[in-house]
Symmetry: C2
Subunit: 720 residues, 2 copies
């Protein structure tokens, strides 16, 4: 049902795009603008360094006044927008611009500059700043607790600078660099983005400890030193020995460390969703088996490490994919929200800490994206969801008691929500196909909104592409897929255009949104300016469409995705202005895998492809990700064989260029080098380029070179 | 004077080339034939496994009879060609084809198959074979002495299997794999091709010991294992710490090892020209200083390691480049021949072992290439020289007593000479522009010759290119340079052709010879068949033209070579049928350095270049070679800076493709990767391809892929 709404919405947006008249005076994008412009010279203006002051309804932002950065503070209580001026005070270190504040309390905040931690006290509308810590140069993962303790890592060890004494204590002292404490583990899968977890009052530090001594060595060569040097990293490949992770608890008062008893016999599992109980006696932890189809949500005694109980279990015949910690309801230490895809879509579940489900808070064929805050007084949770359309993200409130769902924002588009600490107000920064960037504050009870900023269109002077949103039925015969056609500004339906299909189509990623710019990427528009039509579409297996949509690819990555992309190709071929003999395909990472798959398994469809950082053989990709979608090679030999592109190189008909970063430690360089070797063995001509020193993605200034390289390749072989 | 003769000779050959009529029915080369054909399907037939039987004037060869390989033995005494049939006998191991014999004496020979050593006794015209040794699978450098001892290396250690007892003894037992015994040292520079030297009677083994623990580590990644593995090799870079080499003597009777006292204080030098005295009491050794401009020819006592004396010294303001051991005159233990470039050309010098020069045996503005043998009875040395022309190699005899020089062979061309043990006869296998391969036996006293074989033209059915030999004056205004123009069979002087310049132009290599096929390379002809003209020329700095010609490039590699190649370009531009806007350049290794140099230092001359395995920065090339031609970076900073191509990438105007073998341990991969990195830094588009697992040259079947890759690149960018 919701999908029908989606289609109608999209039907409205059909050919609502940039002006098709008066393009003559407008500028074309340079390759640099097309590549990095939206993040630099063409960035949409917005509010800067915004934060809510705890215990208040005041929003802070940095503004320019007489060429200087100053704080502008606005109290939105009752949506009255009362402004204050706050003095920056004197910083104890050199600060080039007004720092982004992180708040501990109503009158205490801090910021981190390099490895310096500066804490501030707000006294009579003036900041008094103190250099709380000057940490060693190699300090990383600097984590500041409101009590004053500062934890950080140096190399593989964890340290804390204690409050008051400012003594620096080594929590771990491990010589073996492959035993790592205080860092994110499991290659940042399962929503893991850090390894240090202060308890609520700051008396304890929970931290991840990862032993990867048993994992395969992998060489990543540093070429920018002479002679070159091989840095040996640990890279666990699908089906191989993986690292062992535990969660430890350091007691700052005693200096003692306890390890949670998560499994003496079996350590081949994943620990995620680390959450302290509000009273800091317990730690909640989700344990997921190596097979990734069985999750236990466990409670542990933080002092002894003993398991208290399993609150509940989740299983799925395909996989369980936890990516969020628990969210406790403020003031209620026995109530928390758990996010789960157990009914097929990511939704919120209110639990009691005895493990009993109180109620499912959200439901429907759409997903909850994030929890933005909780309005404890009203008893509502502020969330963002894809309820309006899988291409949009809107702000809602949901009642904890009666699951009443209310939309808070106004416009279609991609909304990010930052709640005031009490959950009563939400800062809403959003953009949409024709909205560069709008900023509002809404009352989360629906009582009103204040507009803060409507940003001008930074692309107004440019010769913009026409964007045509389309909906295609997937190869299963019924699922709607969303795509976009990017047409030259001077598009002439009587001409024949070469096409470039840009794709990713892997899990956890969605390319198409109702966002600004409508094309989704200025490089698409750059190519349109050169006379190409660009097409992009998210097929099954991609993100934000629910579990069934994503799990359709299980154990045979590539197949369903290609079937869907070929539906897109069939649509393109149905268009009279498409030159089906001049079709190119390009993607990176999973998109590189898809590009190469299409070139080898459907030769003749595309005459030219560019595959960046491509997975060529899933046996060489990492344990966590690969086994979730493919099981281990031993249990799915046919699936791995089917997806192994190295063995299919002889099928190539068109022109294919591979591109790889030489320091790629995500999709290791060997993927493309093995493919190149096989192409030589088989006498097949493939083109190649590498970006020395770049990791999985070519970022920054050098990305311009990359996009030029790709553009040139299409120009030579598709000749627009 | 000789050069004038050369020019006249070349004037004669002008447009004497393959038939320009009736090309219609003839075949074009496939890329596989163009690449490897001359070594495989299109190889010129010749005699097989030829050897002279010691103590006789009998030449052995393997011939087919009733589909089986049999020995044909011909006695050339008095050039009477008397034939014998010899039974192969029974082999103790499986032998797929008749083995190539190595002779110990008139009735004793051996051959090595894998790691098996088989010795044979010739008894009444029948071989009786014995499995003398079945060495471990990892045995390398297997060296068989006529007394029956067999020395070999396993990894870094040296072993010997003793005669009679057949006991295998470890001569060295070094755990550190970077202390290596029994192998060639100094990266095979200075003519070094082995590390084991049995004394004449087999009582001692002299061997090189190389300590490279102090040399920089360098990673060479093995990509064909999963996960990839970095093999750490030792690669001494110009100006850096080099390895330390000594010469040791193992006494088989006592099991004791003595080290020659070549320098306790200074080990930073090179040891070459290792030669046992005929009586095996002494070892002669050339010591060359690190600066490579001072050589000492020393005599050592083999038993004590003590230096007996320095026979003589050689110095040169630029460099001394010894590449040959001493050659003792049979029966005269106090007379030897020393080869030296001291008068500007490689010539022979007859010395007494007291160090006094008896006489210079050869002289003139041409070089001696090799000593093929000595006719002791006549008192003549049989040599090959470039006396007729730098493009030819002819066989001569020179008298030890009166330096009378007499030519032995008949035809122009490239002759290889294998002397009978007594030096009275020489097997002459040669080819020339219009001679596929001829085989003769000559009496070295000039008394006559016997033709053994005239091989048919294996290319008769092909559509051959026209070859035009040319002589150009070098940029110095007077030196003659030799080049070739390869024109399509259906060349039409009224058309405009794209050109490919193929070059090397580095030291120790000469591309142009009077040889078969006249073009020099079937790929040139393949390109001519595709509508290109190919040009190739040896400029100053290349081989076989004497010391001044070679040393012209000293301390500024690339400059003089480019100046000369640009004279070739000027010649090309003077031709009305050359399209100077469509000129490409290609070379490998030093030729890759030259290609890149020309693209960057003379932008606009060539619109397209392909540089394989290129040196981009001499600081990253090895000590021995680089310092000879460039001195150390510290002493020649401007020379290194001037030749550093990485820093000049922004000058590029045309299309440039680099190609590198990923296991290249000669010109390490970093050369091209650094250049690619810099091209990205500078926003310059360069193309790239790599051959995974290949070393410095792409050989074998994969070379066909390489030449196709290069051909495609020129086809795209020069469009013939």
């Amino acid at each position: 049902m919701r999908y029908n709404q989606g289609i109608q919405l999209l039907a409205f947006t059909f050919l609502i795009s940039s002006a098709t008249i008066a393009t003559a005076q407008k500028k074309n994008f340079t390759i640099a603008e097309a590549t990095n412009g939206m993040g630099t010279t063409l960035a949409t203006k917005g509010i800067k360094n915004a934060s809510w002051q705890p215990g208040t309804t005041r929003l802070w932002q940095a503004v320019k006044e007489d060429g200087k950065d100053v704080w502008k503070v606005t109290d939105y209580r009752g949506l009255s927008s009362k402004n204050y001026r706050i003095s920056q005070g004197e910083y104890p270190i050199k600060v080039s611009t007004i720092p982004a504040l992180r708040w501990h309390s109503k009158d205490k905040a801090y910021f981190v500059s390099g490895t310096n931690v500066v804490t501030g006290a707000l006294i009579e509308n003036k900041w008094v700043w103190t250099l709380a810590a000057a940490l060693p140069e190699k300090a990383e993962n600097i984590t500041v607790d409101k009590s004053g303790n500062i934890a950080y890592t140096i190399d593989n060890n964890l340290y804390v600078q204690e409050k008051i004494s400012r003594k620096k204590v080594a929590i771990t002292n491990e010589n073996d660099k492959n035993i790592i404490s205080g860092k994110a583990v499991h290659r940042d899968e399962f929503g893991i983005d850090r390894g240090i977890f202060f308890s609520p009052s700051g008396s304890f530090i929970a931290y991840y400890r990862m032993d990867q001594t048993m994992v395969n060595d992998y060489p990543v060569v540093k070429w920018d030193v002479t002679p070159a040097r091989a840095d040996i990293v640990k890279y666990p490949m699908a089906g191989g020995k993986s690292h062992e992770v535990t969660l430890c608890v350091y007691n700052l008062a005693t200096g003692k460390t306890t390890t949670l008893k998560t499994g003496d016999k079996n350590k081949d599992h994943y620990l995620t969703a680390v959450t302290w109980s509000p009273g800091e006696s317990y730690i909640y932890l989700a344990i997921l088996n190596r097979d990734q189809n069985h999750l236990w949500l466990n409670q542990y005694d933080a002092a002894t490490g003993q398991k208290v109980k399993t609150l509940f279990e989740e299983t799925d015949p395909v996989y369980v994919h936890p990516t969020h910690p628990l969210t406790f309801i403020p003031g209620l230490s026995n109530r928390f929200i758990w996010q789960s895809e157990r009914d097929g879509y990511n939704h919120l579940y209110l639990y009691n800490t005895n493990g009993s489900l109180i109620r499912q808070l959200t439901k429907g064929k759409w997903v909850v994206n994030e929890i933005a805050g909780i309005n404890a007084e009203e008893g509502t949770v502020i969330i963002t969801t894809s309820k309006e359309s899988p291409l949009d993200k809107n702000i809602y409130s949901v009642s904890l008691s009666n699951i009443n769902l209310q939309r808070i924002d106004k416009d279609p588009g991609m909304h990010t929500a930052v709640c005031s600490p009490d959950g009563k107000y939400v800062l809403d920064v959003y953009n949409g196909a024709s909205i560069p960037k709008n900023t509002f504050v809404h009352a989360t009870d629906g009582s009103g909104s204040v507009e803060i900023m409507k940003s001008p269109n930074p692309l107004a002077e440019y010769n913009r592409a026409q964007v045509k949103s389309i909906t295609i039925t997937a190869a299963d015969g019924y699922t709607d897929l969303y795509g976009k056609l990017i047409l030259p500004a001077d598009f002439d339906k009587n001409k024949k255009y070469p096409v470039i299909v840009y794709l990713y189509n892997g899990p956890n990623v969605q390319l198409l949104h109702n966002s600004f710019p409508e094309s989704g990427n200025l490089w698409y528009e750059y190519m349109a300016q050169r006379g190409y039509i660009v097409f992009t579409m998210d097929g099954r297996g991609s993100w934000n469409r629910g579990l069934k949509f994503e799990q359709a690819t299980f154990r045979h990555l590539g197949d369903v995705e290609m079937a869907d992309q070929l539906k897109g190709v069939a649509y393109l071929k149905s268009l009279p202005y498409i030159d089906s003999k001049r079709m190119g395909v390009h993607g990176w990472s999973y998109g590189g895998f898809m590009t190469t798959s299409l070139m080898l398994k459907y030769p003749g469809v595309f005459s030219c492809g560019v595959a960046g950082g491509p997975v060529m053989d899933w046996k060489m990709y990492e344990v966590m990700y690969t086994e979730r979608y493919m099981d281990v090679p031993e249990d799915n030999p046919k699936g791995y064989e089917n997806a192994n592109l190295v063995e299919k190189v002889k099928n190539l008909q068109g022109k294919l260029m591979l591109i790889h970063g030489t320091s790629d430690d995500v999709v290791v360089w060997q993927h493309s080098l093995n493919f190149i070797k096989k192409s030589v063995d088989e006498g097949v001509q493939v083109d190649y380029f590498v970006y020395p020193g770049h990791e999985h993605n070519v970022r920054g200034k050098d990305r311009v070179h990359l996009m030029q390289k790709i553009t040139d390749y299409f120009d030579v072989h598709l000749k627009p």
